[in-house]
């Protein structure tokens, strides 16, 4: 590797190493602004037969070289870092990865609705699978709680509880149980421990657990009853997961020293960029980012004060198994506007779990995957509601990301996936991360915030639409309101909105317009007073979408009517 002193970073190479595909992005300054110059993708190779990420990384970077004509690799195959005066190489190199096997976690706390709740939130935010919870008022006897933890065979125990300088005896009692579990288990399968409770006990418990296993401590996640501070503990938790990833994913430790900052977990980086955006937009609404991947999906919410990340073991690669176990297959097949049996849908998706790299080659397979994506989003939104994870029901904007959503060719279909899956309320601008670079930008923003900002404003992101959800109890087909969209040049567009329909008012991406809605009967738009005041809206490739299909969207039971209705909706928005 060349070792010249770097000047100001211009060229940046980013890699997202996913469980199914490895994607590479080359960024550089063009006309005084960072732009994405090229992207490439190759099947990930951390699995059988190579068990090392190196081959996929090499292929991705080689393709970037071919596309751009720039030399990024030495003849020996090493990355040229930093960039040379002749333009070879790159100045910065970032890696994010979601190749993280989900850790089985036991959450332990004192009060179920205080410290345990916060410990669970930590688990939900990371690449984990919460398998058991114990708390002080849990009525099971000590030995049953112990047996439950042993039966769960956790990889990690999160112990929280006690405000700082607060309860310590109860925390010690729970710690005794954990120490007992650690003592019983053979060395090879003892879980690690993350302690994030009363700080007065930190060093004592670190020593007690440290006799058996590796321990990390973090600042108290509930320093007082009213206060919740998750970020430092989440950072420790992610560090523990990353250590495991570095051990288990061949080649990642090898490229780590080349990275400008250590490789980051994709969900952690995604959370960072949503937090960053949350500070830029309307704090009353907050930003919601959703990402559907092969193994994991995630949802991050942020405004100027709070940020929440939730990671789900749902996806369309190996995550499809969890999706199918949690879904009735009809919840997926009902979105298909062609003749196919539920058994065929189920078989296709189960085969997809066996072959996560497989590609939808026909129009029908593509539609089937979009139907499954809708269900992933639906399950995510339902779970977020159960977890009471979202402080608002309106978002501005909703960002759609992930390797799978970015594979949807037609933006109208991407919009339908989001609207049908998430069923947002109120007025929601929807933005598509068409290359799936949001997590990478989150990692890059640590060292190069200018790149992140300029890319977020670039054509790497597509304004899909501003979607307005209109609800009413009127009969299907009844006229709900008249809409008039005024353009900056003085022209206007008028339409009538009927119950059960969806329509688009043309407004090019980035252009603002004034929307006037004149209800003809009682209608509601969540968190919006329909007092006939005009609404300033921003256009997208699908314009301004008035969605009067109701919440929740109810599809006809009759397959023929259902197919006709879906086709009609697609036609109305101009789907390909």
């Amino acid at each position: 590797m060349a070792k010249n002193k770097p000047t100001q970073a211009k060229s940046v190479l980013g890699l997202e190493i996913g469980s199914a595909n490895t994607r590479g992005f080359l960024f550089d300054v063009v006309e005084n602004s960072y732009r994405m110059i090229a992207s490439s993708s190759a099947p990930s190779t951390q699995m059988q037969p190579l068990f090392d990420i190196g081959e996929a990384v090499y292929e991705v970077v080689t393709r970037l070289q071919e596309v751009t004509g720039r030399v990024l690799l030495e003849k020996s195959g090493e990355l040229i870092l930093p960039a040379q005066p002749n333009g070879d190489g790159v100045d910065q190199f970032f890696v994010t990865t979601s190749c993280a096997p989900a850790l089985k976690v036991v959450a332990a706390g004192l009060l179920s609705d205080v410290s345990l709740e916060s410990a669970k939130k930590l688990a939900y935010a990371a690449y984990t699978n919460l398998v058991e919870s114990i708390w002080i008022n849990d009525r099971r006897p000590f030995n049953q709680k112990m047996d439950a933890v042993l039966a769960a065979r956790p990889d990690l125990i999160i112990l929280a509880g006690g405000t700082d300088d607060g309860a310590s005896r109860s925390v010690t009692r729970t710690a005794d149980l954990i120490t007992g579990v650690l003592g019983f288990l053979p060395r090879g399968i003892r879980p690690q421990v993350l302690y994030c409770g009363n700080q007065a006990l930190s060093s004592q418990l670190r020593e007690a657990f440290g006799r058996y296993t590796s321990v990390r401590t973090a600042p108290n996640i509930r320093p007082s009853l009213e206060e919740e501070v998750l970020d430092p503990a989440l950072g420790e938790l992610n560090a523990m997961i990353m250590e495991k990833v570095l051990d288990q994913i061949g080649g990642l430790r090898r490229i780590s020293p080349l990275c400008t900052i250590p490789p980051q977990l994709t969900n952690q980086a995604f959370h960072q960029i949503i937090k960053f955006l949350g500070r830029q937009y309307d704090p009353q609404k907050g930003v919601l980012g959703v990402d559907v991947g092969a193994t994991y999906s995630m949802a991050a919410y942020a405004n100027d004060r709070v940020s929440i990340l939730n990671t789900f073991n749902l996806g369309l690669g190996s995550g499809v198994e969890e999706l199918l176990l949690k879904s009735d297959i009809r919840e997926i097949s009902r979105w298909l506007a062609f003749s196919i049996t539920d058994a065929q849908v189920s078989d296709y998706l189960w085969n997809r779990s066996l072959y996560p790299l497989s590609v939808a080659s026909t129009i029908e397979e593509s539609a089937l995957e979009r139907a499954a994506m809708r269900q992933v989003l639906r399950l995510m939104m339902a779970e977020l509601e159960i977890r009471e994870a979202l402080p608002s029901s309106r978002f501005e904007p909703i960002l759609l990301s992930g390797s799978l959503i970015s594979r949807v060719v037609d933006p109208v279909q991407s919009l339908f996936v989001a609207l049908d899956g998430m069923q947002p309320l109120g007025i929601s601008p929807l933005i598509l991360d068409k290359h799936g670079i949001l997590p990478l930008l989150g990692a890059i923003a640590n060292k190069n915030p200018l790149l992140a900002i300029q890319l977020l404003e670039s054509t790497a992101f597509t304004n899909l639409a501003t979607a307005i959800s209109i609800t009413s109890k009127a009969r299907i087909g009844s006229t709900l309101l008249r809409a008039r969209l005024d353009y900056p040049d003085g022209n206007y567009f008028e339409a009538e909105v009927k119950q059960g329909s969806i329509l688009s008012l043309p407004l090019p991406s980035g252009m603002s317009g004034i929307l006037r809605l004149q209800p003809t009967r009682r209608v509601e738009i969540e968190d919006f007073a329909l007092n006939r005041e005009p609404i300033k809206v921003v256009g997208g490739v699908c314009g301004v979408v008035l969605d009067a299909r109701g919440r929740p969207i109810v599809l006809p039971e009759d397959p023929g009517k259902r197919t006709d209705l879906i086709k009609e909706w697609e036609f109305l928005l101009g789907a390909a």
């Binding site: 997809r352 066996l354 129009i363």
Partner: protein, 352 residues
């Protein structure tokens, strides 16, 4: 680009590690011949406990006082109703064990007893010779024979003589194939019904090899006490012609099934082994896609079909779905040709 591989190999050298998840004892030695059902290693994992609160039950003033009344020591084996603590004196009050187990510890006047542990017995899984002992963890078993890799298994091991015929291999296994003669045998067929799965259990078959199975039968398959391996995938398309041909040449031979769940990160994969007397070299496990390779499709309407790569298409090909992907022109039979994304192909390796 490295290919996804599946071995349907008539003769090869097979090495398989059989390892405990936790340290335990290894029961075999290097060079020892083993049968599929032989236990090569064992370990135990704690599972259920009793906690006896002596201080509370005997109402002692302090935990330390309670501990003085405990009559047994950590590590001792206890039978049900053994006395573990007593106050002493003329009217002594006693505490007896709630069940049998091993005394683990005494802490703050409380006794912890391990009531039972889960025993892990690791079977050899295939007939062969122990080529290496891995201390405290298990062994590597080696054999020569036919190897057929599958895609799904119900997490069980099975073995027995192979019972199949051309009718069942190319179609659905019918209940008529079951009966007294099926007991202990490994049955093979294109596919089967849920009812067949249950009926096969009552006949105590040794295992089941299927080309494909409906995904609606997954939960039923997981409940069966015998090993089930699926070779091609989910659906009703049956068994590919290469697996069919290979299995049909070994009817009556002893076969073993390792119906482990496919884990691409560790490389564990469900497999069928048919030990043979002839020797051979180990097969390749890394190949790149190239013309002339035999391939099997695993996705969509062509799932389970076997063809040959006629040519690799340059760059990325626009698919009917609108996606672009690396693809190949695949020939099926004499004249039928299709453009298939490489990601939807398995290269089939056979050494003959």
């Amino acid at each position: 680009m490295y290919a996804q591989l599946t071995h349907i190999n008539p003769l090869t050298l097979i090495h398989r590690n059989r390892l405990l998840p936790v340290p335990g004892s290894v029961n075999v030695r290097e060079g020892q011949k083993v049968n599929p059902a032989d236990i090569v290693a064992e370990a135990s994992i704690p599972a259920r406990h009793y906690l006896v609160d002596v201080a509370r039950t005997l109402a002692t003033s302090t935990p330390a006082a309670a501990e003085k009344m405990i009559t047994r020591k950590p590590g001792e084996m206890l039978q049900k109703n053994d006395i573990i603590a007593e106050t002493g004196g003329l009217f002594s009050r006693v505490i007896r064990t709630p069940g049998e187990g091993r005394m683990i510890s005494v802490n703050k006047g409380r006794i912890l007893i391990e009531a039972e542990s889960t025993k892990i017995s690791l079977q050899a899984g295939l007939a062969g010779k122990v080529s290496q002992v891995i201390p405290d963890r298990g062994a590597t078993i080696q054999c020569y024979g036919a190897l057929i890799q599958g895609v799904w298994g119900n997490a069980r091991l099975g073995c027995g003589p192979l019972a199949a015929d051309s009718e069942s291999l190319s179609g659905e296994l019918k209940s008529s194939k079951l009966g007294v003669t099926a007991r202990g045998t490994v049955l093979a067929g294109g596919t089967c019904s849920k009812e067949f799965l249950a009926a096969a259990a009552s006949e105590e078959i040794g295992g089941l090899i299927l080309g494909s199975i409906s995904s609606s039968h997954i939960s039923a398959a997981l409940e069966q006490p015998y090993a089930i391996i699926v070779l091609c995938g989910f659906g009703d398309f049956g068994m590919d012609e290469l697996s069919r041909k290979l299995l049909s040449t070994h009817i009556g031979h002893d076969v073993s099934i390792n119906a482990v769940k496919w884990n691409r990160l560790t490389g564990d994969r469900p497999e069928v082994y048919i030990p043979l007397a002839e020797e051979a070299n180990a097969c390749e496990d890394q190949v790149v896609y190239s013309s002339g390779q035999t391939v099997r499709l695993h996705t969509g309407s062509y799932a389970g079909r076997v063809g040959r790569i006629e040519s690799l298409l340059p760059g990325f090909t626009l698919l009917p779905s609108g996606l672009r992907a690396a693809a190949a022109r695949v020939v099926f039979g004499e004249n039928s040709r299709e453009i298939i994304p490489l990601a939807n192909l398995d290269v089939i390796l056979a050494s003959d």
